[in-house]
């Protein structure tokens, strides 16, 4: 039997936010939904968010979960965590925060909190009309973990995107290896081969920025852009009486709203290119293009 914290059990036995949010045509709000998981994996989550269109705030949230104790508790925790947040704030919620809210999860159940974070991302992307990365290649290639039907391509993707270094991390992220364990040796081999690829390409490519971005998930990328803007760009602009706000991210095209002095300033194009685009290219990826909305 798994060791669960009292918080996990409390939320599991008495979930308060389960159910569906229906679009009743209320003005000023929109309902959005995000789905992850599958009945095959043994857990799935459908998250419903009610968003206030003007403030971008999550005014209500509900979940429907198929899964074990920790999947249900993680869903409840997620909903508690995001209610009242703006969508941008919500995107910053990590699976670690979900787990922390629960007072921790057994290692092998961390994937339940990952599922929460992914559903949130899916719902928000849905709302913003950003296509979620569908990883069709995940279904291709050799099946490595037969217990959970997980292919080599999916394992490679998850290892790369999250810089995983141990087979246990792979179990925690996508369960592969967490069943009979007979695929663990293969997973280890995959990790080693990826590490080798990275070292070789680092040696032949001295542009580490580009490498870093390849390993970022969309959420991590947005978070990084926000961080660069907040820490390195905005202070300069604010000193000049202006400001900038991240509006949208579409692949490498980053849309920003220039505000204050910057918005009306005749040199705003220059600000955009020199101050913002150059900085983001330097920090994140040389192919980034910044546009004003």
């Amino acid at each position: 039997m798994w060791e669960y914290t009292d918080k996990v059990l409390e939320l599991f036995y008495n979930p308060k936010n389960q159910g569906v949010l229906e679009d009743k045509g209320e003005s000023g709000v929109k309902i959005t939904t995000g789905e992850v998981g599958s009945i095959a994996c043994g857990d799935a989550l459908r998250l419903h968010l009610k968003v206030d269109v003007d403030t971008d705030k999550i005014v209500d949230a509900r979940f429907q979960t198929f899964g074990c104790t920790s999947a249900i508790a993680s869903s409840e925790a997620l909903v508690e965590l995001v209610k009242g947040k703006t969508l941008d704030e919500a995107l910053e919620v990590t699976n670690k925060e979900i787990a922390a809210y629960l007072g921790g999860l057994p290692e092998a159940k961390i994937h339940c909190s990952v599922m929460g974070q992914e559903a949130l991302e899916a719902a928000i992307y849905n709302y913003r009309g950003i296509p979620l990365d569908v990883h069709e290649e995940d279904d291709e290639g050799a099946l490595v973990c037969t217990c959970f039907g997980i292919s080599e391509s999916r394992i490679r993707r998850v290892v790369k995107e999250n810089n995983l270094t141990r087979a246990e991390d792979v179990i925690n992220y996508i369960k592969a290896g967490g069943g009979c364990g007979s695929c663990l040796a293969t997973i280890d081999d995959i990790i080693v081969s990826i590490q080798r690829e990275v070292t070789t390409s680092q040696a032949s490519n001295n542009n580490p920025g580009q490498l870093a971005v390849k390993a970022l998930t969309p959420v991590q990328k947005i978070a990084l852009i926000q961080k660069v803007l907040d820490e390195e760009v905005r202070p300069v602009l604010i000193a000049d009486g202006g400001d900038v706000e991240l509006y949208d991210v579409d692949g490498d095209i980053i849309k920003v709203k220039l505000q204050g002095a910057c918005g009306s300033c005749s040199s705003s194009f220059a600000t955009l290119k020199i101050a913002i685009e150059a900085r983001l290219r330097d920090r994140i990826s040389p192919s980034i293009v910044v546009e004003a909305v």
């Binding site: 009945i39 999947a71 217990c147 069943g179 009979c180």
Partner: protein, 402 residues
Amino acid sequence: MQRNCIYLDNNATTKVDPAVVEAMMPYITDYYGNPSSMHTFGGQVAKAVKIAREQVAALLGADETEIVFTSGGTEGDNAAIRAALLAQPEKRHIITTQVEHPAVLTLCKQLETQGYSVTYLSVNQHGQLDLDELDAALTGNTALVSIMYANNETGTVFPIEEIGARVKAKGAIFHVDAVQAVGKLPLNMKNSTIDMLVMSGHKIHAPKGIGALYIRRGVRFRPLIIGGGQQRGRRAGTENVPGLVALGKAAELELLHMEEATAREIKQRDRLEKTILSLISDCEVNGDITQRLPNTTNIGFKYIEGEAILLHLNQHQICASSGSACSSGSLEPSHVLRAMGLPYTTLHGSIRFSLCRYTTEAEIDKVIEVLPGIIQHLRDLSPFKNDQAAWLQQHEQVLTHR
């Protein structure tokens, strides 16, 4: 001794019978002599060992010289399989099934890395074997066929003697993991095709850590555990005397109670099963309901997940299982149910109730009382419901092509 829970997980382990505790106690406290010693103090203990051996032999319908005490089912399976292979070094093929206990499956997987080839027989949707598949797999190179008597998860019973006849015709050794069958089905090794058979004490109201391996007289045997010459050199190590005295007593009691307990368990199990099926929609019984252990029912509840059901049952002090206890620490859906090709809608939500002679009508009533509410509550939480059929179908499809 009082149980404060409704214990319906007897295929995992059983309550130790108070009479068994009483029988073994003196061999922990007063009679601590070594059965191999030459003095009378040890001799008294050796006598107890002999009696226990006779009691176990009686339960199996075997001769006492054919019984070797082990630490339990896993050791018995390992010893039997390795012995069969060592005795016929020229043969390199093993046949087993996809639904065996990990004690057999894991060993077979390891043997594959050591140059053996292993055929894992498949099962149909009721968990039954296709004996033609067995025939096709048997060759002159087959050293060993290892097949369980009854499956621990579904209770499905295999036609062991018919299988044995086919195995013997090809000259292979026939090993049977009977951990779930012993005490629940009448056995008689005298008129059997079985060469080696394994049982475990804690499934028949003896403590954990003791079991027995039956080896038909004349079957060549190479010990797994070597050292001193105890147990005629077939299993070295000073005997676990309190354990085997307990096993002997438990065997005696099983023999005494089997008929009456079986009849009662079948009645209770069927009542539980029928009522669940009538009160709860979208659920079905897994396994072969015509060839089944008297005490077991395994029911799949669609659209919800087993661990969540178990935890709710646990809140009502009801102990059941969502798969085999040995693998319930893993995240993997049951390999047995998967081998039966169950749809994922049912697979993850399957619960096993296994009864014993201590199970009462009131306990069955309690399960019947609380289970429908639990299932309903979890289904209300689940995204997979009738109205979400499209999403569900999409997922099932992804799976089938995998």
